[in-house]
């Protein structure tokens, strides 16, 4: 694995969405390494297993079987070694409740899955180019929901 590429991890149970995600990153010029897991349980197994490379940015779907994105978020925030992982919520819904809850639980950015591919690509590009230091240090509620 190259040191200068960004390691992106996605946890999403939907095969199509994982496909779109990978497809979108392959179209982005920035060097990225994309890994996907199929649900929350698999995600937590990966993150807690020693020796596994930790992602720079974790994309987390909320609605997943076995272990939901919200549960994962709670667990991740309790694990000290995951403190530096930026968390982007990646969900179909953008209900006020979900946005509020994930913000309070410490997610860094919230992305509503867009309807077309171009938008998706632009959004993901935006996310990985965010100055994460700035984004994680301040509790900026206004910029939490990312839209283009």
């Amino acid at each position: 694995m190259q040191n200068d590429s960004i390691f992106v991890l996605l946890a999403d149970d939907d095969e199509d969405d994982r496909l779109f995600f990978k497809e979108a990153f392959s179209n982005i010029k920035i060097k990225t390494i994309v890994k996907t897991v199929d649900d929350g349980v698999e995600l937590m197994n990966y993150l807690t297993q020693t020796g596994n490379k930790l992602p720079n940015i974790l994309f987390l779907d909320l609605n997943m079987p076995r272990k939901s994105g919200m549960e994962c978020l709670k667990e991740i925030k309790k694990l000290e070694h995951l403190n530096d992982v930026a968390i982007a919520i990646y969900s179909t819904s953008a209900s006020e409740q979900d946005i509020e809850d994930t913000f309070v639980k410490g997610a860094n950015v919230y992305i509503k899955k867009p309807h077309d591919f171009a938008t998706l690509r632009n959004l993901l590009e935006e996310v990985i180019t965010i100055n994460w230091h700035y984004q994680t240090s301040g509790l900026n509620r206004d910029g939490f929901l990312l839209s283009l």
Partner: protein, 570 residues
């Protein structure tokens, strides 16, 4: 009054009696005086007879006369005891009589001595003078008595003549008093009679009301422990009125065994703590039917008595209705839940595959469009349009179902600010349509802010969408504070003061006959080809306004414009 009259009568007859007594008294004195004179004369005659005849037989009347005169004096003294004037006269008379008797005894002494003829003559002359004086004195006394007597007589006559007059006056007076008393009693009796009638009507009304209203009354005097049950209590228990003794024990026999505690606890609270209570319990009527009763109590306290009045109502029908209503409510809640979950499915779960379709389409459009034939491209674009429309429908449905949400957070919000936000959101369309928007100052109201913003957004979008291409679009937002009763269309208004916010445009307008239909969900006046849309926007407006206990009305004139008027409670 009668005492007064009898008092007067008694006093009057008393004075009459006194008058009569005085008269008799006066006569007695006169007679006694005349007797006194005649005794004196008897004594003198006797003495003279003795002087002439020297027969001692004549001396008997003389000595007897002396004795009788003394007796007469005593009697007179007694009689005149209360008459000082007569007493003085009597004293003088006594002196004169004494002198006269001295003369008489002198005559007897002279008779036995020398020069008797000369001295006798002298003595008799003097005796005659004294006798005259005595006569004069007695006459005077008699005159005095006669004058007394006359006075008495006059007074007596006067009294006698007054008597019938006074009696008559008294009688008349008494009669008047009796008449007045009668009238007063009659009047009081009438008042009493009227009150009695009112009371009777009132009692009858209560009885009637008890039967119709299915309630009854139990009055309990806590001092005497006496209970009174109204007739209807027995009827409500399926019994004949007064078919059992009013008592708590007897009443408890009718109460459902499981509910007896409720009633007896209530009774205890009344008796011990003087607490009023409201209770709900079942009774089993004489015919075995179960009924639901509700009791409400009230104390009437005065200095001596504490009375508790219970109004007991048969609430079976209400209770059953309530149960039915609760069932209906539960059903309604259930169907609401189903509807909500349907909404969830329709708006949320349908989004998922649709989003994928759209994304796949967009990937193909981006990469493969150039390889398609014109025919294929045309159809592909139609697929894109249909999918986009479906997306819009689902989004709007989601918005509509969110507007339905029950947990509404009302906040004091400046409507000017909400409008400003809306104008910002719509700025692109406003510029594009070259629309001019004017607005009055809007109030600060307790509203659900995002809903009101949505309302503005939908109304303004509507105006922007259906503008008239021939003229520049002008949208006016006017606001005034109004009183509901001035507006007949607000006849069902619960509040008094409203803010009337009217959004007027000079767009295409619509036929007035559609003024109500346009608020119905999915109801559209144009085809999708003419104007794309879902027919949900205005129904969301209506929902929002209703969430705020307000009203919304539409007015339209084709080619002139439309007015949407919103009334929000102040």
């Amino acid at each position: 009054m009668l005492l007064f009259i009898s008092g007067i009568s008694y006093k009057h007859s008393n004075s009459l009696e006194t008058s009569t007594e005085l008269l008799v008294h006066s006569y007695k004195i006169q007679i006694q005086l005349e007797q006194l004179l005649s005794y004196l004369k008897d004594a003198e005659t006797g003495q003279r007879g003795y002087i002439i005849t020297h027969d001692s037989v004549f001396l008997i009347p003389y000595f007897n006369g002396r004795e009788k005169v003394n007796k007469s004096f005593d009697i007179l003294k007694n009689l005149t005891a209360k008459q000082p004037k007569q007493q003085t006269n009597l004293e003088q008379l006594r002196n004169l009589i004494d002198i006269r008797f001295i003369r008489l005894s002198n005559s007897l002494t002279i008779l036995s001595g020398e020069e008797k003829n000369l001295l006798l003559g002298e003595n008799m002359l003097e005796g005659n003078e004294i006798m005259n004086a005595i006569r004069l004195q007695i006459d005077q006394m008699i005159q005095l008595e006669i004058s007394y007597f006359n006075n008495h007589q006059t007074k007596y006559n006067r009294d006698i003549s007054f008597t019938p007059f006074i009696t008559l006056i008294l009688l008349l007076f008494t009669l008047i008093i009796f008449i007045l008393a009668f009238l007063k009693i009659n009047k009081d009796l009438n008042v009493l009679k009227n009150s009695n009638e009112e009371l009777l009507i009132s009692a009858e009304s209560i009885k009637h009301a008890e039967i119709i209203g299915k309630f009854c009354i139990a009055i309990w005097n806590l001092q005497t422990d006496k209970l009174i049950y109204s007739d209807n209590l027995y009827r409500l228990l399926g019994c004949e009125p007064h078919s059992f003794e009013p008592s708590i024990e007897n009443f408890l026999k009718f109460v459902h065994p499981d509910d007896r505690n409720i009633v007896s606890n209530g009774v205890e609270k009344i008796a011990i703590k003087h607490a009023t209570y409201s209770r709900f319990y079942r009774v089993i009527r004489k015919d075995g039917h179960e009924r639901f009763f509700s009791s409400m109590g009230k104390f009437i306290d005065n200095s001596e008595n504490s009375t508790h009045i219970s109004v007991i109502k048969d609430v079976t029908q209400e209770h059953l209705n309530n149960l039915t209503l609760q069932d209906k409510n539960r059903e309604l809640e259930q169907s609401n839940k189903e509807l909500a979950s349907f909404n969830q499915i329709a708006s949320h779960d349908l989004q998922e595959p649709l989003r994928k379709i759209q994304t796949f389409i967009s990937i193909i459009a981006e990469n493969e469009m150039s390889g398609l034939s014109d025919f294929g491209r045309n159809y592909f674009e139609r697929i894109q349009t249909s999918v986009a429309r479906m997306r819009k429908l689902i989004d709007d449905l989601l918005l509509f179902s969110r507007t339905n949400k029950i947990d509404k957070n009302f906040e004091e919000s400046d409507l000017n600010l909400l409008l400003k936000n809306t104008l910002q959101d719509l700025s692109e369309a406003i510029v594009e349509k070259r629309a001019h928007i004017e607005s009055d100052q809007l109030p600060v109201l307790k509203v659900i802010p995002f809903q009101i913003q949505q309302l503005f957004q939908n109304l303004l979008s509507n105006s922007l969408k259906y503008s008239n291409p021939i003229v520049d679009l002008l949208i006016k937002i006017e606001c005034e504070r109004i009183i509901a009763k001035d507006y007949p269309i607000l006849d069902s208004a619960a509040d008094n003061i409203y803010y009337k916010i009217a959004v007027t445009d000079n767009g295409q307008g619509f036929e007035q006959q559609y003024a109500e239909q346009i608020f119905t969900i999915f109801k559209r006046l144009h085809t999708s080809a003419e104007y794309p849309g879902t027919g949900i926007g205005l129904s969301i407006c209506k929902k929002i306004v209703e969430n705020h206990s307000g009203f919304i009305f539409a007015e339209g004139k084709p080619e002139i414009g439309a007015i949407f008027t919103v009334f929000l409670p102040a």
